[in-house]
Symmetry: C3
Subunit: 156 residues, 3 copies
């Protein structure tokens, strides 16, 4: 990255992009794991979401939408859906703004840590306000990144 | 951007990308606000989604999934989730297609306006078909952008 | 793309990016179609999600949240939301890693095919484990892409 003025920033040779790509990968894997966690809970409890699914489990099963353990995992997953995809876009825009490497990398790191903790606290039902604090921490990081993006623009 | 043939388009020096980044930021902030609006409604009504959350509110609270005001905000949020992240990806692809600046910028502007209005109309329960028209307007913009992307390809 | 070392990969002149943009467009159109499929089912059954919506249908309508046909389409849509946006980000990161063209393009193709089939199987209630296999196939492709991204990094 000797000459940023003529080169793109969205490439692996840019260390900030590489860091972004790494933590994005971790967050995406984390979200994929939520699907498997739901499936795991469904098989453990033999409670499924569609009638045809009960045939998969050898020991039968029923369709229910109010099992507290399954709904808890699904809520944690929905919270990820509400937060992580927009963070991933925000991160990409931030990289394009050529932010200070240290600050950007730490934002990606802390956000990833906070979201993983959020899921753990949610799924294992740790007492509030732990989950609320983790949720707000993630949101604040995302908002700071957006403010940085908007203020680094020339034409707005 | 004197010589586009050897430079990337996904950079802030490209005014179309800068415009995309600006309206993406606004849309992401708007989605983040939906989370806070839900939390606000929950505290106002003292109705929470997980049993452990009732301890946050000093005046107690209960777990319910059918409060009409809270579910209304959540439906508006879900509608955002179904539309905005895929629009953000579509916008990025459009920028990479080097579209006419005026047209692309206005698409980003109008889409952002339409989605903000959609939420306002949804949350304040304005009479239909206002919300339906706003929803369809957003979808049509997204479809036009995708058609532009596909037709600007050389190998397909 | 004669000289990749000084040029960006996220541009239409890169055939892998063009292929990514094409299949991303198809997947986004597919997701948009889920919204219309839900609306279609709602009008056919005259069952709506918000009280003010019943005024759109000339023959009246009611608010219900447990119609099996509508909830089936919504579950298929939610499954898309849980999988496709993160795949689209993964694909973008993969393109930035300069993967072998043939492998990357086939990943995009197979994933798109698998997700379209997933929706068809879900909506028409084909017997399990068809849907489970299609779901897992999509997830495995996404995981392989992430592993490729992480292993092509230099600093991690």
């Amino acid at each position: 990255m000797s000459d940023n003025s003529t080169m793109g920033l969205l490439m692996m040779s840019n260390p900030v992009f590489e860091c972004y790509a790494f933590y994005s990968s971790i967050l995406i894997l984390k979200m994929i794991m939520m699907s498997f966690l739901t499936v795991l809970q469904r098989f453990r409890k033999k409670i499924f979401i569609s009638p045809e699914d009960t045939s998969i489990s050898k020991r039968g099963g029923e369709v229910k939408y109010d099992d507290p353990d399954i709904e808890r995992v699904r809520r944690a997953h929905l919270n990820d859906l509400e937060n992580i995809p927009i963070f991933l876009i925000t991160g990409l825009l931030l990289v394009a703004c050529k932010p200070p490497e240290m600050i950007a990398n730490n934002m990606f790191r802390i956000y990833t840590f906070v979201r993983i903790m959020h899921t753990i606290v949610y799924v294992f039902t740790l007492p509030q306000p732990t989950r609320a604090i983790l949720f707000i921490a993630g949101v604040i990081i995302n908002i700071i990144m957006i403010i940085y993006i908007i203020f680094s623009m020339h034409n707005f």
